[in-house]
Symmetry: C2
Subunit: 225 residues, 2 copies
């Protein structure tokens, strides 16, 4: 391959919200890329070599240079392809976008996941409380904006794809109410707007197999309802 | 105060490695700032108002606009004051710097802390193993560079102040060997170089009271040796 040609590869797994973030960022920028589905039970040499620290997807490889960690990848994409900016240009607004993206990773992901997939009842209740508390902060933050990024999708929206697409699925599987339109009307409106955005639509995995996958995981842990 | 004048305030606590990161960044840039020591048992109104999500230090306030999360603050400082860059200019090198800083937060902090301050023996051993494994990755990464940032201190060096200054203290208190010159000669060389850097020297808290504080904490948990 000519060295002047861009070589852009994403190693991923269909059901991963972290991988989905990278799909959205690349499609927003209109970057052509090769997607490689990893078998996470039998990871490729390329994955292990490209992310020896975590051995996880997503891994983004640009002209043979690998990057791991979804938010790090999204910032890299934003700095490399300048059209359709994902981060705001103002340093203070950039700091807030980084703060809320990190908040989603630190406070929403684990709590929402453990609200569903934890066996211990007390532990589960604690996580439900924490997830709801975290979502309340986001409800207050979105206010009446169309997206967290304003009129266009930005870093926080991309980080929050987990809340829009994954949380409703896993709470349905567990018969839980974490994120509902009654509890969080503004965040719910945001999620509808976001899921209907053409770029997001084409970046999401197909719902049915992902739902079945998580339902299977849930039933393997707790039996079927 | 005239609105054209810069108003730069850091809310912190002396013993915090996260606060120390911000001191280093500000001093590297030569930014004049007001430091306010918080009493963490009786947090100020300003702290609670400025960081309602986490209610933690550091909080950085620039012209009345507050930012929380130490690495977010350091990036903001780097974007606001352009002299003595903390992040590299090349997008790939920036991604690597962000990756390793996040690695330190995710893989070193908790493991090193729990290696010392966990009562459960098994849990403690597991964390010792994880801390050593994480430090090995950093040993491999520093190679023969003076700093992680190359010839000058960069984001990863600032993130790693915990390893240079705090880990040696808490391991001494617990009689543990996590980070030693035998185990990690290159990382140890780095830590000496880093701690002797004039900017770092004037940013570090005085060792004795911080040592006494952590020793007191350790003895309150496990009794004195």
């Amino acid at each position: 391959m000519a060295s002047s040609q861009e070589e852009v590869t994403l190693l991923g797994a269909t059901g991963s919200p972290f991988v989905c973030r990278v799909h959205i960022a690349l499609k927003l920028k209109g970057v052509e890329y090769k997607y490689v589905e990893e078998n996470l039970r039998n990871k490729s040499e390329l994955l292990l070599k490209s992310n020896p620290v975590h051995k996880k997807v997503p891994v983004f490889i640009h002209n043979e240079k690998p990057i791991a960690e979804s938010l790090v990848i999204v910032e890299y994409i934003d700095e490399t392809w300048k059209n359709n900016p994902i981060l705001p240009s103002d340093p203070y607004q950039r700091a807030l976008a980084r703060f809320w993206s990190k908040f989603i990773d630190d406070k929403v992901f684990g709590a929402a996941w453990k609200s569903v997939f934890t066996a211990d009842e007390k532990e589960r209740e604690k996580n439900v409380e924490e997830a709801i508390e975290a979502l309340q902060f986001l409800e207050n933050e979105i206010k009446d904006k169309k997206f967290f990024g304003g009129e266009e999708i930005g870093l926080v929206d991309i980080a929050a794809v987990y809340i829009a697409f994954w949380v409703p699925m896993v709470q349905e599987i567990a018969g839980l109410e974490l994120f509902t339109s009654e509890k969080f009307p503004k965040l719910h409106n945001w999620s509808q707007e976001f899921l209907n955005h053409p770029i997001v639509k084409e970046s999401l995995p197909p719902r049915d197999p992902v739902f079945s996958f998580f339902k299977g995981l849930y039933e393997s842990l707790f039996g079927s309802k």
